[in-house]
Symmetry: C2
Subunit: 125 residues, 2 copies
DNA sequence: AACTTATACAACCATATGGTTGTATCAGTG
DNA sequence: CACTGATACAACCATATGGTTGTATAAGTT
């Protein structure tokens, strides 16, 4: 059984960059459920085979897809793990956001007693 | 109370592109909890103020941050909604992935009776 | 009003990106 | 082995990106 112990700190730059293109996102989406080769994928887009092949290469370098030989084709499959890596970062941001709201609420609670006692003007350097 | 009814189909390209840069992700992270102006933000990075200002502009165009005047400064705040838009897309992909696994499992169950009845060689065009 | 602080923006440069066409490689098939 | 199908990759081009410096504007401060 294969258990990758924990891939080193992920390189988010190529990951998000790969997702920043409509064609590539569509390839990712297709490659989740389908089992298409590069040529078949290329059929879906209004550009040359070579262009699509380059998009696939970008996705592969970003770790978002993998290819395996099936006959003469190289079948493209989306790598869930990479999607999760990206999602986890966004989750982390969301968590930070919640933490901030919590802190603000605490602050409001603490300050509640001071309402209408004159603490109004805010210093702004 | 302000309730944006539903922003039109989100433009993922600038959103993910904005996240595809380490400096910009760091600005987003900082702007979640801090209340810094552009000049203060610039202090954290080894580049000119103008460079940081351009990064902030990219983030603003992508909808990831907003600025509001506080005194003479323009304080930068992360926009949670944009983060959620990005996360939702990744959630959708994950969901597609789960659906695929489910379908595969169903297929395996259906085919289970046919085991050892000779259905082995797989056509591959 | 003059000065200072904070921000914006234009012009410029080097490199990266997204597309093209053409050529090379590589695995099945007759 | 020759042929075809599928992929890879190099070379090229136009535009975008990430950085720089310099100048302009806008809001507080004295």
């Amino acid at each position: 059984m294969v258990v990758s112990v924990q891939t080193a700190l992920p390189d988010f730059d190529p990951l998000f960059a790969a997702l920043a293109d409509h064609t590539r996102r569509d390839i990712v989406r297709r490659a989740i459920s389908a089992e298409e080769g590069v040529l078949e994928l290329a059929g879906h887009y209004p550009m040359s085979f070579a262009a699509v092949q380059k998009h696939v290469a970008v996705l592969e370098r970003a770790g978002l897809i993998t290819k395996r030989r099936v006959g003469r084709r190289r079948v493209v499959r989306t790598n869930l793990e990479a999607l999760l890596v990206a999602r986890r970062l966004l989750d982390q941001y969301e968590e930070l956001w919640r933490a901030r709201i919590d802190r603000m609420n605490e602050l409001i609670a603490e300050t509640a007693g001071a309402i209408d006692t004159g603490a109004k003007k805010e210093s702004q350097r």
